[in-house]
């Protein structure tokens, strides 16, 4: 089976993640969509690794996972502290810098 299909699936999942970031207003759901985009990229990297016959792509995917884990920790801490001060997890409510 041609590995190109995995690339198409990866592109579709990445686009769905982008769509979620554009459409949703709940900060946690936006964050989940970002995780989906990272996962889609990982799938593409693993597929590239298979196409090229080297393991470098898999090592890249491994580093993406590590960075994603760190990003989730910091991002969720930010969401919790924003929720604590503004009592809302909506990204529309965090608009103090706008005015």
């Amino acid at each position: 089976m041609s590995p190109t299909f995995y690339l198409y699936l990866s592109a579709i999942l990445f686009t769905i993640g982008t769509l979620g970031v554009l459409l949703r207003r709940n900060a946690i759901v936006v964050f989940m969509c970002i995780e989906l985009m990272l996962n889609a990229t990982n799938l593409a990297l693993v597929t590239f690794s298979r196409i090229n016959g080297t393991l470098d792509g898999q090592v890249m995917a491994f580093f993406v996972m590590v960075v994603a884990a760190a990003e989730v920790v910091v991002g969720l801490a930010i969401i919790v502290s924003v929720f604590r001060t503004r009592r809302s997890a909506s990204v529309d409510d965090a608009n103090l810098l706008k005015y």
Partner: protein, 281 residues
């Protein structure tokens, strides 16, 4: 090695194609469901499903190590963190469906479709035909060298790359993880503005302002009713409203379930026939 068996079993073209065409549509449906579900918990569960399916795809593509890391790190740690924060922030915070920017949804969908077309064009233009496969690389030096069993394999080869060519990135990763842990602690830490009250001060406050200095009575526990929304009975047989927490009382009223004083009265009579009757009369 079960992972090798799993990977090699899926690598035969037929089963892999079947697995892909069964799981890929499910992954897309889950991803769409995540974007369009109103409940945040549903979205989190669907994202977990997508991550598990991606782990299967990694296993099918000669990446058993990443498949297991995906399950452990993403569905294990990251999704649990998400659910934890969901519970902390409030599960029932729903998105408002009002558009704050006019036409944002339509523009977003158009942009997403355009982006997808762009990506597809790129993949088609890349002209990828076939793949070299990783089996040869994964089992490059598969001799049990110096008494080490299963010396080759995916994990061994990734470790060789990670601690050799990418060792600097690996070390930088450790700095990143420590910084992230520190950052999370700093962000989630709450500064205490008032000094912590001692037990003595708490006691004095309770007697100064409080109308009920003693602890409130606990909820009723009877032979047939063992729930926190059942009020306790006072010595004269009447239910005590203080024994039910206010929030639970509100919730049970919302569900249309009133505390049943009549039932409670009969229960009390059954339990304490002498005291109940004597006090009532």
């Amino acid at each position: 090695m079960p992972t090798a068996i799993l990977a090699s079993g899926l690598n035969a073209s037929g089963p892999e194609t079947a697995v892909f065409w069964i799981l890929a549509p499910i992954a897309v449906i889950f991803a769409l469901g995540m974007v369009f579900s109103r409940h945040t918990v549903h979205a989190a569960l669907m994202l977990g499903g997508v991550m598990l399916i991606l782990a299967v795809f990694y296993a099918a593509q000669d990446a058993p190590f990443l498949a297991f890391v995906q399950v452990i790190v993403y569905t294990g740690a990251v999704m649990m963190l998400f659910l934890f924060v969901l519970m902390l922030v409030g599960v029932d915070t729903k998105d408002s469906l009002v558009e704050t920017l006019r036409g944002q949804r339509f523009a977003g969908v158009i942009a997403a479709v355009g982006f997808l077309l762009l990506l597809f064009t790129g993949i088609v233009n890349a002209g990828i035909h076939g793949s070299k496969g990783l089996h040869a690389v994964n089992y490059a030096d598969n001799q049990p060298a110096r008494g080490v069993q299963n010396a080759g394999g995916n994990v061994y080869q990734i470790a060789k790359l990670l601690f050799d060519r990418y060792v600097f990135a690996f070390e930088a990763t450790s700095a990143l993880l420590i910084t992230a842990a520190l950052g999370a602690m700093v962000l989630a830490h709450r500064q205490r503005h008032t000094p912590r009250l001692t037990q003595r001060e708490l006691m004095q406050q309770r007697f100064k302002f409080g109308t009920h200095p003693t602890p409130l009575p606990g909820p009723g526990v009877y032979a047939r009713h063992n729930a926190v929304d059942t009020p306790a009975l006072l010595p004269d047989g009447s239910p005590s409203p203080l024994s039910v927490p206010a929030s639970i009382e509100l919730a049970s009223q919302k569900q249309g379930r009133e505390p049943r004083p009549a039932e409670l009265g009969s229960a009390a009579a059954a339990h304490h026939p002498s005291s109940g009757k004597g006090q009532a009369e």
